[in-house]
Amino acid sequence: MTTVAAAAGERTGRAKPATMAQALGRALRDSMAEDPTVHVLGEDVGTLGGVFRVTDGLAKEFGDDRCTDTPLAEAGILGAAVGMAMYGLRPVVEMQFDAFAYPAFEQLISHVAKMRNRTRGAMPLPITVRVPYGGGIGGVEHHSDSSEAYYMATPGLHVVVPATVDDAYGLLRASIASDDPVVFLEPKRLYWSKAAWSPDAPAAVEPIGRAVVRRSGRSATLITYGPSLPVCLEAAEAATAEGWDLEVVDLRSLVPFDDETVAASVRRTGRAVVVHESSGFGGPGGEIAARITEQCFHHLEAPVLRVAGFDIPYPPPMQERHHLPGVDRVLDAVARLQWEAEG
């Protein structure tokens, strides 16, 4: 793993409001500045700066060879990145939207995830695949898929999902620095979320794989990540009116999965709801609920419940609000956590 020293300093610069998109762009820039083997490639990432402007300015600063507009072919992009990584580069691939990563599925599953294992460690592939993902931005079909279940089920991949501006920077730096391939899911609807953040002295970069408690509470635990974190935090606030003091855990990475943090929280609270935007059936929530139950069975006052997108294809923009798990749906699940049993 390359060092990420530049990012490891103390936060000394003056914090100003920054968006997640800006923090991601800055993470790319800092990675490229520090490590000449980092190359960005994808559709429209160069001259245009990406359709979400995350790569804005990189081609100008580092040249077209470091930030490259590729032909329009996702399997080709990821396949070429595999070859570049085989030669010692550290490619960061942008897939323009979630559903447009599917053409690269074979390269991802059959090569990216398996090359280190196939060569018994001789040829790791330090590739980061950035995927703007999820709904809530009024996108037409194919622009709002939550695809994390596919990647989670594939041994050999790391799956990382930032939910805050800080983490967007830190986790992307850590992902690029990782010698393992990372599918880096960027919640599109948080791209323009803002937080006080100093690009000059970003917070220390933590290794991938640590969940974090975003809000402490004692009644029950909401377990979530990425686009659903703000929903859960809002729900937790609203829940105080009902007398519930909810803990909120942000997973930050689905692989590796931080069993310790999650189990510790649920053992404390005795109740848990997993919240995500992805469809429920076969989605991440099943795995998470099953793990919690295996590890905390005798601490559980109620079954772990799941609040998720419905088991339907992502709806058209005018209907998406009905699909996306919102505060009410989270609170409804909390209410179903068999409180009467408490007595």
């Binding site: 559709e43 429209d44 160069g46 001259t47 245009l48 700066g49 359709v51 507009d69 590729t70 032909p71 329009l72 072919a73 996702e74 399997a75 080709g76 559903a99 447009f100 599917y102 053409p103 009024g138 996108g139 037409v140 079909e141 194919h142 622009h143 059936f281 419905f310 088991d311 339907i312 294809p313 709806p315 058209p316 923009p317 005018m318 209907q319 009905h322 699909h323 009410d328 749906r329």
Partner: protein, 387 residues
Amino acid sequence: MTVQELPGAAAYRPTPPPAWKPLTDPAPLLPDPEPYRVLGTEAAAGADPELLLRLYAELVRGRRYNAQATALTKQGRLAVYPSSTGQEACEIAAALVLEERDWLFPSYRDTLAAVARGLDPVEALTLLRGDRHTGYDPREHRIAPLCTPLATQLPHAVGLAHAARLKGDDVVALAMVGDGGTSEGDFHEALNFAAVWRAPVVFLVQNNGFAISVPLAKQTAAPSLAHKAVGYGMPGRLVDGNDAAAVHEVLADAMARARRGEGPTLVEAVTYRMDAHTNADDATRYRVDSEVEAWRAHDPILLLERELTGRGLLDEDGVRTVREAAERMAAGLREQMNADPVLDPMDLFSHVYEEQTGQLREQAARLRVELDAEHDRHDESGAEDVR
């Protein structure tokens, strides 16, 4: 006719190189070195005046449609609109060249082709308004759903054309794709299947110079996109995509060829996207105004108007009539799009499967409860029912 019976295929056995022969003769497959043109050339004399006038009226209408749809995005009436301004000759010719029984496979940019084929503009725009993924019954209109994942509609067109041929139906599929889309693996696989199966399908590539911000030179190093045809053993045709008469003629030839059972054709129409990629795009980031201006002088409406007026087939009155009709269409569209679509959220569960699974029934019931609660809250607060 089975695959084995195809000329060439039946006889095919691997033969050692001393006796090796190409499967097909490459010479007739290669495109002409320059895009084919009709307007302003000698070929124009042979063009059917009625067709030219029809094309003209549709081009003007199409231009107006593009402008109106773009305006609707500004009013929040459309989620997004990828305009085909500048490319109307391709859109219109593609629609007009089809018989009623034929199928159109449009890409996400091709609502105009669908409308020119007769689809109600509101139905055509549903995807982009954001209320439904597809606003029409594809089988009724023989227009496949507007396709967003690039080039993925091409194998569909091949499969459909193949199925029709197997059934003995005289149906040709016309599939549209952009220059960027030609880089996708699905383009390759579709063209190969089409040629091997001799499917009655015509591929129309609108080379408008860009895939969002990426210019053609970063997309391909080929002499032209039409040259890709030879690698599949089908003819490649290069045409001036702003010359509606030329596009119509080349496509009509390809359709006729397909109908005769001679297989697929790849047509590259060289054109230019005058607007930004969509209303959300900022084209100044990747191209210069002078380039846009150069193309303005080669505008498809201009070219046709010049031809028609030069030949006395069109006068100021004629132009006015056509423009007025286009204005009426635009006004109608504006009005229709002013109404909010009536949507039932419970529809989300209606078409996932033929029969709702138990899970979906449960989820639908949960949403029902939420909606009723929302309804009650709105009733109490005197607000409008948003369902």
